[in-house]
């Protein structure tokens, strides 16, 4: 079963705009991670935020985590056509070592 739910399922924006994707989860976590997947390829790790952190930045990426609401968001600023991909959140559960993925947000950035 999947632990995370993401919204929106699909997002279409113009180059230069910001893209925000949200992730909600159900059980306590050690950390939450965001991954990107281009069509037909494996997933690539983007950023990891620990349960005691509230915000983290990496380049044009900004991730927030609200453990009281069991939710996270990924913001991509100044999007580029090359950002077109599917984005997944994944939760590292407090009990056990497995990483559980959400259903993903399909982002399309139009040039």
């Amino acid at each position: 079963s999947q632990q995370g739910e993401e919204d929106p399922q699909a997002l279409s924006i113009q180059e230069g705009e910001n893209a925000t994707m949200n992730c909600s989860y159900k059980t306590s976590i050690n950390n939450l991670q965001w991954y990107r997947q281009n069509s037909g390829r494996g997933l690539v790790h983007l950023i990891l935020i620990r349960s005691n952190e509230r915000e983290k930045h990496s380049g044009r990426l900004r991730v927030t985590l609200d453990t009281s609401k069991k939710s996270s968001s990924l913001l991509i600023t100044a999007s580029r056509a090359a950002d077109t991909a599917s984005y997944f959140c994944a939760t590292d559960l407090l009990q056990g070592g497995k990483l559980i993925f959400g259903q993903g947000t399909e982002l399309s950035v139009k040039p």
Binding site: N31, Y35, G40, Q103
Partner: protein, 113 residues
């Protein structure tokens, strides 16, 4: 350096046959994961190894699925009596251990006819 390697990249088999999917993790990565991904879905957890032992195999759908990692490096996912519903992309990932990022291979696309 070399990433996670999965072979074959594509496998077509007939219903009822046995298949083996191989994963070569990044050297030095102690944790290894298998996931299954259907079109338009997120990766579905199957099994997680820490070293040679299966730390969590709760995601294996039934006893037709089995995975091994005998020397703590290469892993093989084995599927017996394949069914059409087993068709999916099987992803392998490795990491330095719990709480660290996963590095994924490009997957094996399994098609059961």
């Amino acid at each position: 350096g070399a990433g996670v390697s999965q072979t074959p990249s594509n496998k077509v088999t007939e219903k009822g046959k046995y298949v083996e999917l191989r994963c070569d993790p990044i050297s030095g990565h102690t944790a290894l994961y298998w996931y299954r991904q259907s079109l338009g879905q997120g990766p579905e957890f199957l099994i997680y190894f820490q070293g040679t032992g299966a730390a969590d195999d709760s995601g294996l759908p039934n006893d037709r699925f089995f995975a091994v990692r005998p020397e703590g490096s290469v892993s093989t996912l084995k599927i017996q009596r394949t069914e059409r519903g087993d068709s999916a992309v099987y992803l392998c990932a490795s990491s330095l251990g719990q709480g660290t990022p996963l590095h994924f291979g490009n997957g094996t696309r399994l098609t059961v006819t």
